[in-house]
Symmetry: C2
């Protein structure tokens, strides 16, 4: 493709958007990648690396020479460099930080302390601050100087002499303002900020609601620590959405369309095996009703219907509850209102489906008692399963258990068990009516 | 709260961010809202309306007097006004457009033509364009003048004399450049644009990948029609994620935590009733194997296990396929590779679970034939259900059928039926071994 024609390759490659550079880079063989490392500067490679998916990046940093890798990390946005270091093993991180230029290493070390998925872990420290006492003219001069390094210049944050955040100034306000006004006169002092430990999902919600392009991050004394920009928040939104989605599907991570069959199986098997054991529990439960089954074998044909309806309604309730918790609506309304509403929903859907199925079974099998048994079972099942579908995630949330446990297939299997108990329990109790 | 104290109310209310204004506004009674309409100007109400959820907005426009409502719409960003008009009934839209100021009505009418969920429907026409022949100084003057009206000024788009899009200039580049340079010298001519009919999900993907804050929309002759800003894209991302999530849960819309039980039931019942009929299909299928069941009643106890495993693995495969289609990974790889990978995954998970369950059933029931029957059924079921879980959404996508049909519970029920056929088919075929 490009044998030794360094200049031509550089000219063509660097014309592209870094995202496209990254796409091309990723598809090259290791041999070609080695050539690319030697053709481009560490700053140019840093742009490429910032656009590679974080899950795929580890091999590239392993194949670079350590000093080159350290330089690339130093040239990257601090927040992106930290994300990458969080993917590498500890020894490698330490060695990179040792050979790296002192200033960059210092900035990175500071951010490495913050817990994953908090404001601290996604913020960048490359931003522009203005002192409240500057004039607009001085502020513009400062901004022009800082622009090449900063992650965004569209919002600048204003601090007082104690470095506390006191205001925000958009570039829009800045270019409209007269040159001799003071920053403190033009800025908005109603600045919204987030504490450094704030959860990233809350921040995404906030930026979306308020249409912010950037958000300042402060410590408990209101000192400005960093800023979070909208491009990082879009990645967070994607990550959180994909996370909720994976949980509902009962799979550890849906985002691997280029996984091999083996990797996919490894991601799904743990779930399937847990569910297999839960399924055995259902089987042994039905086993206890073997006498009932022996007497009225026809009962068996409605097992999948009843278990399936329980699973479906439980998944619906689960989805609503999980979204309610994620969007904070749940906190606002309180758990009782939410559970009460689900109980009401279960009652309505249960009654409708129950009446319908009673009629269908009656006309199909000509047996009103069988119809009533199936109908009442469906009704009771839908009510209980709907409540369980919302109650279980709320409990998990309450107990601070990882809500991944309350995933779709798990709720489905729990509801299978509940529904079988209701159905066979009632069938056994009213056996004499069924045998007539 | 604020009896006739107009000035104080105005001062306090207008200090707030429009999003907070909207939150307060929404919780007021109709009587108080009527007072608010009279206290604030149509421009101030427009800011509030832009921050109200689109699904909740209809009643507010119905309770305003028509001339006031028309003024509010005229003052809003064109794209937001169009979104609202799409929610109202046609007659009302026509009457608002008639009383509205001509210029605003014209802009809105233009956007109303575009199909929902395309670039045209989410773009705004309030943006700044620069002619390529301006100097930087002239461009800055133009920008300052246009700033109050424009949705964003951080990216300005450059057109030639035929109004064709030729470049993009960020405000960052603009403030760094010298005053007497030409716009055409400073701008980037590698401007990325989207056609007006482009799907909104593709656009969201693109803005996220390229970290754009705005994206120009063009017609087939490359004329600049509008721009899409990142705040609208964040709403699109949320909408699409919530859409995928709802589909997987088999519910028309999970985003209604303040719905009543009745509204919730209305959203869920259609699905439950369809699934009820599909469940009856399963029941009648098992009914055909009544003889088999009568002879070996113990077969019934494994029905929920096998059907459940089929449902779970199908949901996993479905989730991966839907995400693959949504992120475009599927187009890249081609359907055969994806289906082949799913078949491999099904084979691995099927073999593992099959061997495990054979052993468990053998030790539990002491019957190796029953163990083998359940084990081989699980294996065959997992392979078929995994393939079905990925094949069905791909087919839907191919046939341009609304993929909502391929939702989680639907796939689960299809896989229930497949699994029951496999299990009872095998049981009937090898009946003599089971009876020994």
């Amino acid at each position: 493709l490009f044998n030794e024609q360094i200049d031509q390759f550089r000219a063509e490659f660097l014309e592209l958007h870094p995202y496209d550079q990254a796409k091309i880079f990723e598809t090259q063989s290791e041999k070609v990648r080695m050539q690319i490392y030697s053709y481009l500067s560490s700053e140019e490679i840093a742009d490429v690396m910032e656009n590679i998916d974080i899950d795929d990046i580890e091999p590239f940093f392993s194949e670079m020479t350590p000093p080159f890798a350290a330089n690339v990390l130093a040239e990257m946005s601090t927040d992106d460099a930290v994300d990458i270091l969080n993917e590498l093993d500890k020894n490698k991180v330490a060695s990179f930080l040792t050979i790296m230029d002192k200033e960059a290493a210092g900035e990175i070390k500071e951010l490495l302390h913050y817990e994953e998925k908090t404001a601290g872990s996604i913020m960048t420290t490359e931003f522009v601050v203005l002192n409240a006492n500057l004039t607009i003219k001085e502020a513009m001069r400062h901004l022009r100087k800082e622009a090449p390094e900063a992650e965004t210049i569209y919002y600048t944050y204003v601090i007082d002499n104690q470095k506390r955040l006191v205001g925000v100034l958009s570039l829009r306000d800045l270019i409209i303002a007269e040159g001799d006004w003071l920053v403190s006169e033009v800025m908005s002092d109603r600045v919204v900020s987030v504490p450094v430990g704030e959860d990233q999902e809350e921040i995404a919600q906030m930026m979306r609601d308020y249409d912010f392009l950037a958000l300042p991050v402060v410590d408990f004394q209101n000192h400005l620590l960093g800023i979070i920009t909208v491009d990082d928040i879009m990645d967070v939104m994607e990550e959180e959405a994909s996370d909720d989605y994976s949980k509902l599907a009962g799979i550890s991570d849906v985002d691997g369309p280029d996984d091999s069959a083996f990797t996919s199986a490894k991601k799904r098997l743990p779930w399937l095996i847990i569910l297999l054991f839960l399924g055995m529990l259902t089987a042994s439960l039905i086993g206890r009703f073997e006498d009932t089954l022996d007497q009225v074998a026809i009962l068996a044909i409605f097992i999948p219907l009843i278990a399936g309806m329980a699973g479906n309604t439980g998944t619906q309730a689960l989805a609503v509850a999980v979204r309610g918790i994620a969007t904070g609506e749940f906190e606002k309304q309180g758990k009782w209102k939410m559970i009460g509403r689900e109980a009401g929903t279960g009652l309505i859907t249960g009654t409708c489906c129950g009446v319908l199925i009673t009629l269908i079974v009656y006309f199909w099998q000509g047996d009103i008692f069988l119809g009533l048994l199936v109908g009442i079972s469906i009704m009771a099942t839908l009510i209980v399963a709907t409540i369980a579908g919302s109650l279980i995630p709320i409990l998990m949330h309450r107990l601070k258990v990882d809500p991944a446990v309350a995933s779709g297939p798990f709720i489905t299997t729990i509801n299978d068990i509940i529904s079988i108990l209701i159905y066979f329990g009632m069938a056994t109790a009213f056996m004499n009516l069924l045998l007539h």
